[in-house]
């Protein structure tokens, strides 16, 4: 049964072009004006610069790890050096890149803009969150520079509390402090979304990026304090020589694992949910269609956040938990896979009968959906008890989480950066090079991590610098892929900064998107909007051709080129005179 709603409206004209003199970037060039800013956009840029540095450091560590694995007895590192290297890679990538990346960069920049606000609810808290993040990073960097820590990012006692001879305290302190930054950002985003929406921006009209940021912030707020107290207890045990995880006084090291994973499992949803939000924004824009199943996707984000709190011990199936515990956690882990599946189906259906172009944001988003699907499906092997016994702590797990975190989240982050770059900087980057980069990253990624599934299935354990000779061929393939992946990452590191000087000036809305952030100049004004926006319809009304303020949309970019670049003031097509709305089924 299909319901057809006829929309009788004549297309409103697209907005007049406007190029303001003062925007948030040129409003003061001094270092002081940047380091003491309370402007959410500048804070977003501060985060962007810092996490790029940490991504590079974490990536370098990964490079050394992979090079070392070319030989079954370790090519370039001693065992101790290798152990410090993979720990540095994990800690840097998880706590100092993935957790802050989208919330800290894209969330800070775009949450206020997408809901029509002037800034976040607590701008000074926002700046404080960046400083707290940098202080935490400082401690962690210190720990790495004076010799590193070798406990793995998971820090299990008794090894981390009483046997490791490395700089555990500064490293853990760094992670502990940066956790507060995560809490502050989450709190800020939640209050902003609750209280600062402009008139007409009801909950049902929020872009899906906002829904996913809301879900992410909920997790950041409620889960991070638990790992904070766990890390405090670990530090106390290491400093005092005695603690609550110490078996010699009746303590239980497995309790640490419970408390640690109570945060660290929801943490992975902190990492992926924002990426899912980004994908929803881009897939709709570049197929010129409404999202298929808005409510389903929004509810799925919330569902993943809530159910994600109930799964933690699926990391502990062979760690000595009871049989009945294991049954429960496996069952719940199956449940959380369902909302992710729903999202993938909805994204795919959004493409149906669209009008699709393949600029870099779209290529990255499509790659995200493909790789995230593999990552999610391989998670099922690990959620299933019978298979997890064999696959736990092998390269199968390593491949699984890299698929979701790198193939998923990093690609979604890249997609977001490429999508919003014109808005943030006022410049367009090279369309051709960005498409090449997306393709190389996709291929390199595949080659790096697919052999690792085979390795894990054959039993190669994680965190092993020495391995049986028979596994060498897969390790070499994986390292070869990693070098291609590294090359792929290098390209945006070149063409994006170059665009700041040589790129075409961007219009307000080069991708012809519907969100509120596109209805202001590129780069935006200091207080975001000339006048208070008033929202009249939902997001993603691409089919009708109106933005959220009810105005028309400019000409969308063609299949061969990037956004308009230099064609300011082009009027869009006369919109559809009437449009049937299909509610299928």
């Amino acid at each position: 049964m299909s319901i057809a709603i006829r929309e009788f409206r004549s297309a409103p004209p697209p907005p007049e072009p406007v190029t303001p003199q003062v925007n948030y970037l040129n409003n003061g060039y001094s270092l002081w004006s940047w380091l003491f800013t309370v402007d959410h956009k500048r804070i977003g840029i501060l985060y962007l610069l810092s996490i790029t540095v940490f991504f590079t450091l974490g990536g370098a560590a990964a490079g050394l790890v992979r090079i070392n694995l070319v030989s079954p007895t370790g090519a370039i590192l001693t065992e101790d050096q290798y152990n410090r290297m993979f720990t540095a890679h994990g800690v840097m990538m998880l706590f100092f890149f993935l957790i802050p990346a989208v919330p800290g960069v894209l969330g800070n920049f775009f949450v206020p803009m997408m809901i029509g606000a002037k800034d976040m609810a607590f701008p000074k808290l926002n700046l404080a969150s960046w400083y707290v993040f940098m202080i935490g990073a400082g401690f962690a960097a210190y720990a790495v520079l004076v010799g590193g820590i070798d406990t793995g990012w998971t820090l299990y006692p008794p090894y981390s509390s009483r046997y490791s001879h490395t700089n555990v305290i500064p490293g853990v302190l760094g992670v502990f402090i940066s956790g507060f930054s995560s809490i502050m950002t989450g709190l800020n985003i939640l209050v902003t979304i609750h209280k600062m929406r402009c008139p007409g921006m009801t909950w049902g009209r929020l872009p899906l990026f906002i829904w996913s940021m809301y879900a992410t912030s909920l997790i950041q707020l409620l889960a991070t304090p638990v790992v904070a107290v766990t890390l405090v207890l670990l530090m106390v045990e290491r400093l005092a020589g005695v603690g609550i995880f110490d078996p010699s006084i009746g303590g239980d090291p497995v309790l640490f694992q419970h408390m640690f994973w109570f945060y660290s499992h929801p943490a992975v949803y902190i990492m992926i949910l924002p990426g899912m939000g980004v994908a929803s924004e881009i897939l709709t824009c570049f197929s010129r269609k409404n999202i298929f199943g808005y409510k389903a996707v929004a509810w799925s984000s919330m569902g993943i956040a809530v159910v994600g709190f109930l799964l933690w011990a699926h990391h502990m199936f062979v760690a000595g938990i009871s049989y009945y515990s294991a049954l429960m956690f496996s069952f719940l882990s199956m449940l959380v896979a369902v909302p992710s599946a729903i999202k993938v189906f909805n994204w795919t259906s959004t493409l149906y009968r669209g009008s699709i172009t393949f600029q870099a944001p779209m290529l990255f988003s499509l790659a995200f959906v493909v790789l995230f699907t593999i990552g999610g499906l391989t998670g099922l092997f690990l959620a299933t008890l019978g298979t997890d016994i064999h696959l736990h702590d092998t390269y199968f797990v390593v491949a699984h989480f890299h698929f979701v975190m790198v193939g998923g989240m990093v690609l979604a982050y890249m997609a977001g950066i490429h999508f919003w770059w014109p808005k943030m900087t006022g410049r367009m980057y090279s369309d051709w090079w960005s498409r090449i980069a997306a393709s190389i990253i996709f291929v390199g990624f595949f080659l790096t991590f697919v052999p690792q599934f085979v390795l894990g299935y054959n039993g190669m354990p994680r965190r092993y610098p020495n391995y049986p000779q028979a596994f060498q061929v897969y390790n070499v393939l994986s390292t070869a892929g990693a070098s291609i992946l590294g090359l792929g990452y290098l390209l945006p590191a070149i063409y994006l900064p170059l665009s700041l000087f040589f790129g075409d000036k961007a219009t307000a809305n080069p991708w012809s998107a519907t969100g509120l952030e596109w209805q202001t100049s590129s780069p935006p004004l200091v207080f975001n909007f000339e006048t208070l926006p008033v929202v009249v319809c939902g997001p993603y009304e691409y089919a009708i051709g109106v933005d959220q303020l009810g105005r028309g949309l400019p000409e969308p970019p063609g299949p061969g080129g990037s956004g308009l670049g230099g064609h300011e003031g082009v009027t869009g097509p006369a919109g559809p005179m009437n449009k049937e709305t299909h509610v299928v089924g």
Partner: protein, 240 residues
């Protein structure tokens, strides 16, 4: 409605109106309180696990603590929550003197708590009630060996292990220590509020900072009300 040209001086520039500002501040503080609850919840959960595993050992260990001081401290904190609430009332009515007075009393009660706590810790150190090896030199460990465990053996009960008493003491110091740190921060905030009130920046139409600090203060009090029975009262029946 955009910010009017006659906006009140207390309205911050990124907000549209005072109502939005106050509502945001309150919501923000409630969310922060949620994080504090989760922080302590981790500790309480861990404590609960061990208490379920070692009920007798933890009961004995609890009886070693100075519950009388804990009782005084409880009274002090509850009273301070009263004066904190009275401070809000003074702020609402514009009673600046009353506001400052109540804030200072609140801070004083909190400081008294810390004073008694310090005395309690010093006494504990002197009696060697520590989670380290030093515990074995204490009277309590000696009593355990010479009086308590033989008596238990006579009654057919399992012996109480000094190691598990040390585990309890780990929790005691960490939980009361972290609570004390939160209290000290609270005292600092209350004193800062008194300063702001003295400067005149808390008019009756913008007292939400008092509101927000009081929420934090009440939470610290509430956490103590959970902490105290778990640590001190559960062993009180065994006498000390």
């Amino acid at each position: 409605m955009s910010a009017s040209t006659l906006h009140p001086p207390v309205l911050k520039h990124h907000f549209d109106n005072l109502h939005q500002q106050h509502a945001s501040e309150r919501l923000g503080m409630w969310m922060f309180l949620a994080t504090e609850v989760m922080f302590f919840a981790g500790l309480f959960a861990a404590y609960t696990v061990y208490r379920m595993w070692y009920p007798d050992d933890f009961e004995f260990a609890g009886s070693l603590l100075l519950w009388k001081i804990a009782a005084i401290n409880t009274f002090l904190l509850i009273t301070s929550s009263l004066t904190m609430t009275l401070a809000i009332r003074c702020a609402q009515y514009g009673d600046r003197k009353g506001l400052i007075r109540n804030l200072l009393i609140t801070a004083a009660l909190g400081t008294a708590f810390m004073g008694f706590k310090t005395y309690e810790y010093l006494t504990d150190f002197e009696e060697k009630l520590l989670p380290t090896q030093a515990f074995y030199e204490s009277h309590a460990a000696h009593d355990l060996e010479t009086k308590v465990n033989p008596e238990r053996a006579r009654l057919g009960l399992e012996a109480i292990s000094s190691e598990r008493v040390r585990l309890f003491l780990c929790f005691y110091y960490v939980m009361t220590g972290i609570h004390s740190i939160h209290l000290v921060v609270g005292i600092g905030c209350v004193l800062w509020l008194a300063w702001e009130a003295w400067r005149g920046t808390i008019p009756p139409d913008n007292y939400s900072t008092v509101d927000v600090v009081s929420l934090y203060w009440h939470l610290v009090d509430a956490i103590w009300l959970f902490l105290m029975p778990l640590l001190y009262l559960a062993g009180a029946g065994m006498g000390h």
